[in-house]
Structures are given as structure tokens and as C-alpha cells.
């Protein structure tokens, strides 16, 4: 009996340990998004009104005053971070013509809620846009036991869409 319990404990521990980590380096993500030839990174200052609107989306002030992004034609790619429960989750988000093209969890550091990295969850964001009240225009189904990670990804998706609107690449949309 104790042997089975030990085995179960080892399996659960290794599953949890495996769930945490770097799934893709941010630089590799950007390379992949732009087919190996990414444009030079640009910077967006979060000051004045943009800082206020970012604070409203995140429910706290942004961790830095400057955000870097990569843009080409009507597409922008963002590597953003938000704390789930205790540690930051690094997420890569691509926005095209004001709609989300792709969401990918790049680095997950929390001990719980790692299910958000799966495609079945992140695919829900594809094609989502921002409403006038800066909410996503669709419902995103949550995952039980991963509420805070789900919340973090929703916030980051809204933030990427909002920041996209403040770049010169938003005007390229037809």
C-alpha cells in the first residue's frame, strides 16, 4: 500500500515539476512569429492616459514604464508578464488587424494552474477583439483549479489588444 502511495506521490510531483518551466524562449517565439526574420523591437511608453488604461486592465499599475513589441504591416507581437498567484507567467501574444492571432504561454513559474498552456485553452483567444469597454468580445471558458492563471491570461490578452491600438501598426488594418 505504502509503495503505491509513494509511486503516486512521485508521479504527481514529477508532473508538477514538469509543468513548470520554459516552454519556449521569448526570442524563439518572436523568431517563429516572423518566420525567422523579426523586425527590430519597438518600444511603447506607458505614461499618461495609456498608463491609466493599462492599470485599469491589470487592476494594478504596470510593472514597467516601457513595453517592447515587434511589429510588421498590421501585426504586432508582444511578450508580456502577469502574476497568476505568486509568480509571473510569461505569455507571447500576436495581434493582427485588431484581433488576436495567437496566444502562447512561454514561461510558467507557478506550482498550480499550468493547464492554461494547453492549446485547447489558448485557442479560445484566437480571433478575439476588444469591445468599447476594453473587454474581450467573447467568453473564455475557465479551468477549475487554474482560476488565477486563466485570469492572468485574459488580462494579458486584453492588454495586448489595447496596446496594439496605440502602435502605428493598428492603422494598417483595412
Amino acid at each position: 500500500m505504502s509503495r503505491w502511495l509513494y509511486l503516486l506521490f512521485v508521479c504527481l510531483f514529477s508532473l508538477s515539476a514538469h509543468a513548470r518551466g520554459t516552454y519556449q524562449e521569448p526570442s524563439a517565439f518572436i523568431n517563429e512569429v516572423f518566420d525567422g526574420t523579426p523586425p527590430a523591437a519597438k518600444r511603447l511608453w506607458l505614461t499618461g492616459e495609456l498608463k491609466q488604461s493599462t492599470t485599469a486592465i491589470l487592476n494594478h499599475p504596470p510593472s514597467s514604464l516601457r513595453v517592447r513589441y515587434w511589429g510588421l504591416n498590421s501585426r504586432t507581437a508582444w511578450v508580456l508578464e502577469e502574476i497568476g498567484k505568486e509568480k509571473p507567467i510569461t505569455v507571447g501574444i500576436v495581434v493582427d488587424k485588431g484581433r488576436i492571432e495567437r496566444v502562447k504561454v512561454l514561461v510558467f513559474r507557478e506550482s498550480r494552474g499550468w493547464e492554461v498552456r494547453h492549446d485547447f485553452f489558448t485557442n479560445q483567444f484566437v480571433d478575439a477583439a476588444l469591445t468599447n469597454t476594453r473587454e474581450l468580445d467573447r467568453d473564455i471558458d475557465g479551468i477549475s483549479g487554474a482560476t488565477l492563471s486563466v485570469r492572468a491570461l485574459k488580462k494579458l490578452s486584453r492588454l495586448a489588444l489595447h496596446l496594439h491600438q496605440h502602435t502605428p501598426f493598428a492603422n494598417d488594418a483595412p
Binding site: S27, R43, S63, L65, R66, V67
Partner: protein, 259 residues
């Protein structure tokens, strides 16, 4: 005979009442402590108890929170950049995050550039984070040293010398023989007054209000004795509910017998 039979349970009931009262009075204080702390703990997130820290020195002493052993300081212009254990400070302003090492800091065009672990942090002079670059040229490498090359460029030593500017727009590899042209950041001593302030800040950002309330709830604030006292309180509460139930049953039986 019948009278005698009626009297016996009455005495028992009175005695039980007295016990119930004594137990109730003894447990009252514990019930209050448990209820009030329990209420607070139920709303930890809303009340942000995990983000509120205790700064009273006697409480920090009670918890044996030791002063930091490791303090590394660099000067950047008129400012000090200090690593106290794993916490980073610009002057006396704490910077978010935890860091294992501090390789140096420089002041470049009104921006403080800090090299900590594999991070390059750009901070305003009031300690606001402008940007955190967590990888250099796409790779995570611990930075050994940081130095100023010109008014606009700085150099990072990660085994190779890499030069960039505050926009991180261009990365340029320098030859090792060009090291002498760089003004490297070197550790500096910290004024005693500032040192004491940072030590206090470090200690005062360790014990959360949530921890204290949790320890009051479990009795651990008084160590093992406190846990034993709370165990005793729990037993008293069990006895209180049992004696109350027993009194109620006795009274019910008495009323039924009267009818």
C-alpha cells in the same frame, strides 16, 4: 422513593449547569480570538493581509527575524544601488522582484542601469522600473560586470563583452583588449545611516500580517505552549457543546416526565 428518584437528576443537572458555565467562561476568550482571527483569514485577499507587513521591532525580535548577512552596494552617480540578501534597493526604494546577485550599476542619461543576475534593469532616479531585459541577445546569461563606455552606451561582461544603448536596439561585441576603455562599476561602501535604514526595511518586509493572524489563530505565536493552549481551548469547546447538548436533553426529558 419516588421523591428521591426525582431529586437525583436535578442535582446532576445543576452540577452540569455549573460545569457548563465554568467551561463557557474559560473558553470565551479563546472563542473570541478564534472567531476574530478566523474572520480576518477568510478575507485575506480582500484585506490584502499577505501584502501588509509588520514593522514593530519587538514583534520582529519575537519572531527571531535576523538582520541581513549580505549587503552589496554600488554607486550610480549620486544614487546607491544596494542588494540586501535577495532584495534590491535604489537609495531606500525597494525594486520589485528577488535577485541572487548584483554585478553593478551605472547612471546613464538620467537612467540608472542595474545588472542583477541575468537581468538588465533600467530605472528612473526615483526607483520606477522603465524596462527589465531578462535576456541578452536572446540568451539568459549571468552578468559578471557592467561598465560605462560612453555617454550613451554601456558594456556587459558575460564572458564576452557586449555593448548596447538604453534602447537595447544594437548589440555590439567588443574585443577583450578594449576593456581598459571602459569605466567599470565597482562595489562601494554604504553610509551607516542608510545601512541601518535598509536593514530595518529588510526586516520589516519579512513578516506579513497574514502570518501573524494565522499564528494567533493556531496559537503558534506563543510557540509550542501556544499550540497546547489552543488544543486545550478546542477540547473546552467540544466539552461546552457536549455539556450544552446534555443539559438540553435532560431538560427535555424533565418536561416530558412532567407531562
Amino acid at each position: 422513593m419516588t421523591r428521591h428518584k426525582h431529586k437525583k437528576p436535578l442535582i446532576k443537572l445543576r452540577s452540569l449547569y455549573l460545569w457548563h458555565r465554568y467551561i463557557g467562561v474559560s473558553a470565551a476568550l479563546f472563542v473570541l480570538v478564534l472567531a476574530v482571527t478566523g474572520l480576518f483569514l477568510n478575507h485575506t485577499e480582500q484585506l490584502e493581509l499577505d501584502n501588509s507587513y509588520i514593522s514593530e521591532t519587538w514583534l520582529l525580535d519575537w519572531y527571531d527575524i535576523e538582520p541581513p548577512q549580505r549587503i552589496i552596494n554600488y554607486s550610480a552617480g549620486q544614487h546607491t544601488v544596494t542588494l540586501v540578501e535577495d532584495r534590491l534597493y535604489i537609495n531606500t526604494q525597494a525594486v520589485a522582484g528577488h535577485y541572487e546577485s548584483l554585478a553593478g550599476a551605472i547612471l546613464l542619461q538620467d537612467i540608472i542601469v542595474v545588472a542583477a543576475d541575468s537581468h538588465v534593469l533600467l530605472l528612473t532616479q526615483s526607483g520606477e522600473l522603465v524596462e527589465n531585459l531578462s535576456s541578452i541577445n536572446g540568451t539568459r546569461q549571468n552578468i559578471g560586470a557592467i561598465g560605462q563606455h560612453s555617454d550613451t552606451k554601456f558594456v556587459l561582461d558575460t564572458g564576452t563583452l557586449t555593448m548596447t544603448d538604453l534602447d537595447f536596439s544594437h548589440w555590439q561585441t567588443l574585443r577583450l583588449k578594449d576593456r581598459h576603455a571602459i569605466q567599470w562599476s565597482v562595489p562601494d561602501s554604504l553610509a551607516e545611516q542608510r545601512r541601518q535604514r535598509l536593514v530595518h526595511h529588510y526586516r520589516a518586509s519579512t513578516l506579513t500580517l497574514e502570518r501573524l493572524i494565522l499564528d494567533l489563530h493556531s496559537g503558534r505565536v506563543l510557540g509550542n505552549v501556544g499550540v497546547f493552549i489552543m488544543d486545550l481551548a478546542a477540547i473546552l469547546l467540544c466539552l461546552l457543546s457536549l455539556s450544552g447538548l446534555w443539559i438540553w436533553l435532560q431538560q427535555r426529558r424533565k418536561h416530558q416526565n412532567r407531562r
